[in-house]
Symmetry: C2
């Protein structure tokens, strides 16, 4: 489907296929009534997104139980091509049971062993878009 002068709307199925293809996403939260966005290293668990956050961060407080936005993209500025997927959902901390079951998902703590809180986002809304060029390459299936 083509919308808005060359932006192509992706189906939910396409979005779900694209989400596992990247390693870094951006989490958008509200901190002190102001918008904040941070990059995070994530993994998919089924259709949910799981990422780590520090134990003492504003981010941790902001994501727990809140509605958050999570965005993944792949953009090639030289080719003027790219796609982005946006997930909106409620974020919550992984339970001890989930942590025991899931392990660390390859999300090794970058900044020390205490950086060990894991957050899970269950998608309530998933949308995606791609800049559509004539003769563009097909998306991965």
């Amino acid at each position: 489907m083509l919308i808005d002068e060359g932006l192509e709307l992706l189906t939910e199925e396409q979005c779900r296929a694209l989400l596992p293809t990247e390693a870094i996403g951006r989490i958008g939260v509200t901190i002190g009534a102001l918008p904040a966005i941070f990059p995070v290293n994530y993994q998919m668990v089924g259709q949910d997104i799981v990422f780590r956050t520090g134990t003492a961060t504003n981010l941790r407080a902001a994501v727990e139980g809140g509605v958050v936005g999570f965005e993944v993209d792949h953009v090639d500025p030289s080719a003027h091509e790219g796609w982005s997927v946006l997930v909106v959902g409620v974020a919550r901390r992984l339970t001890d049971g989930e942590r025991a079951e899931l392990g660390d998902l390859g999300l090794s703590p970058w900044a020390g062993p205490d950086r060990a809180n894991m957050v899970r986002i269950h998608p309530e809304m998933t949308s995606g878009r791609r800049i559509a060029k004539k003769g563009h390459r097909p998306l991965p299936a």
Copy 2:
């Protein structure tokens, strides 16, 4: 300054030096009371961020006159290194006078000639952080 288990807080001066080093940033807005994040191709004009948006997008309506978050990062998942800078400010459409003065800033429309609205964000708050590893490389000056 080290905060939060290995995250290093950047100075405003470091943030301002990093902002022009990337081409793609992520804009965070609220659309229909829900968070939304989209990648955009941007340029710096002094300390302000300028990017294009379509003429008919939700994004255009959301950014005009609103407080937005704008994030730029560079993350190397394999090296477990990275930095991110977050700008919070009011977004507004470029005036005709500014457009005549600034030209297109190399922000050629990716998706057709009508994709020509340009938005300017003046930073009210700028913050940045880096994952600090022992023996990490210095930031660009």
